[in-house]
Symmetry: C2
């Protein structure tokens, strides 16, 4: 296995090739380097301690005394995967956890602490919520990480035996997709065709209502319509995104252009009509699901952290397969507005769901307290359902694999960070304080002989961007073809001037509102900085927003008994005021607060 | 027991006294007479047949083979209550069902087919969702109806034994209020103080977080804050409304002015900030709960039918207690826009939840099909949770008791219908085609000697109302004090001219929208009448709406990849168009359709 095959997603072919995480070195002090450091020192030990405290690790030792939901095994697997990807050495933890998993693995290769023993539900007895293939998928994904990083041959062996069992047992489709991406990656690692065939079978079988009818409906499980025929992502957001990622993986390995085109179509529809300004997906608390087109209420936004991770997984696969650099835009948006928002500064609390409009002050959740209620609410140390924390951990640990790609002709920079890059025949020194400052200064340290192409994503929001002083078009990829020499420099300048952002008029929930964005960052207002109830704030859009504040007025209460009136001008307005803006990813870090992203527009 | 004590709510004291349903005779062909006829001929036999088909009646015969949820018993009790109130003779059904309930009643008076037997959860073991007191409350309420109408001494006896058991067992508060109103009404029927004391104890014990912690939170169960201290109705809507009604009942019987004032305050807050234009309550599907102030999304409106019934119950109690005739406004709004909407024309299908914005066409639900998913969706013959149908049935059956009240000085008309009224020393012939026509012609047939006062509610929406041609103020009660003689006539004219209705700017979900109302009716547009997707319709509010249609234009799709833009004028607009209006209570009766009440305003 060569160095290039060590990343989180390594397709056999595609328009762009992944670059090994080792070829991308994030410099300390940068935005993502800092967060990866917190991941290593805070998130990983915090997650490990909580999985232990909850008894979910002990489940592997004493499955007959299983505690927790059916899918708790998967959190241990995601933690293992994160340990493998992480720069730091976690060999002791990897070995300890792997030994436990191996011990729980049965002779036929099956692993699952919640099924099959006396007093437990039988294997495969609950296709809707048994989560068995979901857990095995995460185990296999951890094995893939172990194989690619060389961190644990034992874990690779456990994963392969589990995959062999799945391929042989050929169970019904799982209510929660995940096995598909995992099996394809294991195929990519091992070359074993049956893993790919099994993944393809799971993708193809889905959508024919073979799952028994359930009150949540077939769409929740993505079993309502075959993948090739669906026009949009729908149903449970994480399930939909994992399935779509798996379908892309299958399509790429089998050369199935129709299947790839179907996912492209669905993702495009989803971005155009079912995605929050933050890049978050999932509009409903009740079933953690997508809403209908343009149903995007900011207050009841679900926008699960896991859905953000899954969006990055899917978008990156589409990027590799199609070479369409615009996919980097949604990756950037999700990274800065969902992933960066999700984790507390010390890594020891996290958001499960991401509201865009907090109406009542966030509570303080004690450090020793698992939240009963997963879903909405403040960052909490842990939740009874805690899929999001190890999911973010594995994404942050493997993040360097998502920033840069290469081709025969050169290198493509999709995400900007202070880093060294060695790919596509170039060694680059990328200097930037992004997203605080918009200059990205790229210096060539070394270059192969002959012409190389350096491609830079110009974000869709970056109107007024320049390359070496010359205007470049937003929403395109700048291709610099040159016989590069050491010392050559290019400067991409992305204007971070704050701007008003207006919603499509068909999005009912934010009609009459604006938001503020600055570069890739969505901005918000927090009650800590306002003198009155943020729900009464109306902003003046006659002038451009400033970097740090918006001007507006607060509506005054009229004391009306009934809130529906014969005339539209019933509310009294207060005097002009100024309310500071903060980046949305910084909200809820200074104490209990209300918050809003979408701000009602002051009508003249 | 005198005739005046035969109604659904008979407090011992209050500003207004209830009038016996027999003293209010609705004439055939009127709006509510028609719906009561459908209730008798359609709803009641339909509900009875489905309760039988589901096995919930058989549960009383064979409780050891109990099927369905913990609260299925309550549907039989509500059906019994409706049978008792109904004008028609249902004695055979009443006797049959009563005999079954009596058979299932245990020696100590407890009745509950889902608890206490071998293999069943123990009595009182699940305070959150056992619903035991909830069921017993409905049984007692049925007993009250039986007592007041004389329909079944046997049922009265069963109810009294059950109440005695509750008073003696004094269990913990029930997760779902209902027992409180029932026990107070039984006190009113029997004079037994211990029933009132038990109800008062249940009300006073609530709000101290004595229920074990639950992931839904204490507010859902109204156990977060004592009734006397809460500032709003909150949590699960039906639970909140039943509890509030019970608190009013307790307050009235114990002379507790602080408790009554607390409920008045909470209901006022709820009307001002947490109620839909239709009068519906409940903004969230996930927990059938109120949202925060001004969180009133029309698409995800829950507005459960049972919450509408409970709102009428509460508002009527407040009306009787306080003499504030404005409570008749919310009763009217709920009757015409929730209750009238709930039931299919033949009485054999019903809405559980009431959306104000149907985005995807309603499905057709086969007549033999119980919906798995209670909550949103089209009118269906039945649901796995079917509390709404027998609840509407009992309200319609007892409706005459909610229209008129009396005092020593005369009679008060709160709701208008074509009817004869005999109360407060007057016999009145009330002629009207309301709500299709706004004239209410009241002719005195007979009057007691001396001055009487005839009070008429002038709805808050009725700007331009006249009495005998003289303007009267909307939102007030007109008092006509006269020595009435047979043949005297007064004409109240309520203008039903359609009007634009604008939402409070703090209701985010409908900002930039208007609705149309005509008299008490909320209007809507249905896709059957429109040429394009209703979600793209924008209406022209420069002129007043017509009775039957709105003028506007449809937004055209721009094909944008991302729905958030730098400028606010991105959508193309089509040519002027006219879209018919229909009363909201008539929607979804002509086949699959999308629908909306709140219509985006065309900005110039």
């Amino acid at each position: 296995m060569t160095a290039v095959e060590r990343g989180p997603v390594v397709p056999s072919s595609g328009a762009f090739r992944p670059v090994s995480p080792e070829a991308v070195r994030l410099r300390d002090g940068g935005f993502w380097a800092d967060r990866r450091a917190v991941n290593t020192s805070g998130v990983l030990p915090h997650a490990h301690a909580w999985l232990d405290r909850m008894g979910w690790i002990r489940n592997f030792r004493e499955p007959e005394r299983h505690v927790g939901r059916e899918f708790t095994d998967s959190e241990i697997y995601k933690l293992l995967e994160a340990y493998c990807w992480d720069d730091a050495d976690h060999l002791a933890e990897i070995d300890e956890l792997t030994a436990l998993v191996a011990r729980a693995q049965e002779r036929d290769g099956y692993v699952g602490t919640a099924h099959g023993r006396p007093g437990q539900p039988a294997r495969w007895s609950d296709p809707h919520f048994g989560h068995e293939l979901y857990c095995l998928g995460h185990l296999i994904q951890a094995g893939v990480a172990a194989a690619r990083t060389g961190r644990s041959p034992a874990l690779v062996s456990v994963a392969r035996r589990a995959a062999d069992h799945v391929a042989g047992a050929d169970p019904a489709i799982c209510g929660h997709p995940e096995i598909e991406t995992a099996l394809v990656e294991l195929y990519r690692v091992t070359g074993e065709a049956r893993y790919l065939e099994t993944a393809a079978a799971f993708v193809n079988r889905r959508g024919h209502r073979t799952l028994p009818e359930h009150e949540f409906g077939w769409a929740y499980f993505l079993d309502d319509t075959p993948v090739r025929e669906a026009h949009s992502l729908r149903g449970h957001a994480v399930r939909a995104l994992y399935l779509a990622a798996g379908a892309v993986d299958v399509a790429v390995e089998t050369g199935d252009t129709e299947l790839l085109a179907a996912v492209v179509r669905q993702f495009d529809h989803t971005l155009a009509r079912r995605t929050y300004l933050t890049g978050g997906m999932g509009s409903r608390h009740q079933d953690e699901s997508f809403g209908d087109d343009f149903v995007l209420p900011p207050d009841r936004a679900y926008s699960e952290t896991c859905a953000g991770v899954a969006t990055v997984m899917l978008a990156h696969r589409l990027l590799l397969a199609t070479g369409d650099m615009r996919y980097g835009d949604i990756v950037e948006r999700v990274l800065y507005n969902v992933v960066a928002t999700a984790i507390a500064d010390d890594g020891r609390a996290f958001f499960y769901a991401h509201t865009l409009h907090q109406r009542t002050p966030t509570e303080f959740v004690p450090a020793d307290r698992a939240q009963l209620r997963f879903g909405g609410g403040p960052r909490a140390p842990f939740f009874e359902v805690s899929c999001c924390l190890p999911n973010v951990a594995r994404l942050l640990a493997s993040l360097p694999g998502y920033l840069v790609t290469s081709t025969a002709e050169g290198v493509q920079l999709h995400q900007y960070a202070d880093m060294d890059v060695r790919a596509g025949g170039l060694e680059l020194d990328v200097r930037t304080r992004y997203p605080d400052h918009g200059d990205i200064v790229i210096t060539v340290r070394r270059a192969d002989q002959g012409e190389r192409v350096l491609s830079l994503r110009v974000p869709g929001w970056a109107e007024g961007a320049t390359l070496d002083g010359r205007p470049v078009e937003a929403g395109t990829a700048v291709r610099i073809r040159r016989d590069f020499a050491a010392g050559d420099t290019v400067v991409l300048r992305l204007p971070l001037t704050p701007r008003w952002t207006w919603p499509d008029p068909r999005i009912d929930a934010v009609r009459g509102c604006v938001a503020v964005e600055a570069g890739p960052l969505v901005m918000c207002v927090e009650s800590l900085d306002a003198q009155e109830n943020l729900d009464h704030l109306m902003v003046d859009t006659a002038v451009a927003p400033e970097a740090t504040a918006v001007k507006g007025r607060f509506a005054q209460s009229t004391g009306a008994r009934w809130p529906y009136h014969r005339t539209g001008t019933d509310s009294a307005i207060g005097s002009p005021t100024v309310v500071p803006l903060v980046p949305y990813h910084r909200w809820a870090r200074r104490g209990p607060a209300t918050m809003r992203v979408w701000l009602p527009v002051l009508t003249p």
